[in-house]
Chain length 201, copies 2
């Protein structure tokens, strides 16, 4: 059976960079935005649209109440994207040893017993990291103020949390759902942390 | 400044063994029950009594309500033990690089910025580990049933949680209060985990 590592991460914690370093250290395949590109190839939808749908819990446009029962009718595209995403994640996990970032992969692949890592950091550290990488995150002409950037970070993390909880029924970042939780607040050397995590497996 | 590592741990998770391996790997001093012995030396109290007082939140015998204000009068011995424990933990941290197990040391030494580790595991794994080590934990003539042992584990962890929250005002095991949280459910090789954690520092 292939060795699968899933990495959940707070936005701004450096989790993506950590995951890439971990995959490099181990010589494993690395999947993150590649999953979005693959969905785009298999559907007629744009990557931008898929990115949006695949990382947010759905806004339910047609809630139907029948007596005390609540039925949610999700938009077709949303269901398509989720179905493709689940299929692709399973397919990739079946191909070779790999590191998969986000997308509830820890839950989708729970029967394969992946090694589940969660990367987080404190608010100040997230702000600092985003400030250093803001161009790649936003590409905005005007720089965000600290307050605006902090609000944006919180918003993205609330969205990730909502998505995860909607599709898994589990609490995002709750340590009992992970094998290793790493706080990157006091360490910028993500390569060193990745090397250490590689030994833990 | 000395390098200080604190290890909080759920009872049954192997946290104490992990901490000892970590101290050995790093060549750091290791403090756990040694703190109790030191308090006993400095007071006229027995180690058994100190162990009990130093690991449980106090039972408050004289709660006083004045209007809407609540005053807690703690027994003198309890205050003595806590004072000695705080003093000894600070003293030990000032002596040399060290690993300190439990006793809210992460909070007591917060100004020294220790590297804070929390070790946990799922209920099944805790039961298995305690079953394998039951003689050293209990020394009972009759073996506990799984149900009895699970209840005992839960009780001890509830007590640790209560103690920590009473004296620190923080939630025990809440990942934002730690730099690294390690789930030992799927790994019995605590020496390997300790070696990896040593690299993270």
């Amino acid at each position: 059976m292939n060795r699968i590592i899933t990495v959940g991460r707070e936005f701004g914690s450096g989790g993506r960079e950590f995951a890439r370093c971990l995959a490099e250290t181990l010589g494993y395949a690395y999947y993150d935005r590649e999953i979005i590109s693959e969905i785009a190839k298999r559907t007629s939808l744009s990557e931008k649209y898929i990115q949006n749908v695949a990382e947010h819990k759905p806004v339910i446009p047609f809630p139907i109440h029948t007596g005390r029962t609540f039925w949610a009718v999700l938009p077709d595209y949303n269901q398509d994207v989720q179905r493709e995403q689940h299929g692709i994640i399973r397919e990739l996990a079946g191909k070779s040893d790999c590191v998969i970032v986000g997308r509830g992969a820890d839950y989708i692949l729970r029967d394969e017993k992946p090694y589940r890592i969660f990367v987080y950091s404190d608010a100040e550290s997230k702000l600092k990291r985003c400030r250093e990488n803001s161009s790649s995150y936003y590409g905005e002409e005007r720089e965000f103020t600290d307050r605006e950037l902090s609000a944006r970070i919180e918003q993205i993390n609330a969205s990730r949390s909502g998505y995860y909880e909607f599709y898994t029924g589990q609490k995002w970042g709750e340590k009992s759902n992970y094998d290793l939780c790493i706080n990157t607040s006091f360490c910028n050397d993500l390569r060193k942390i990745a090397k250490a995590a590689a030994i833990m497996l």
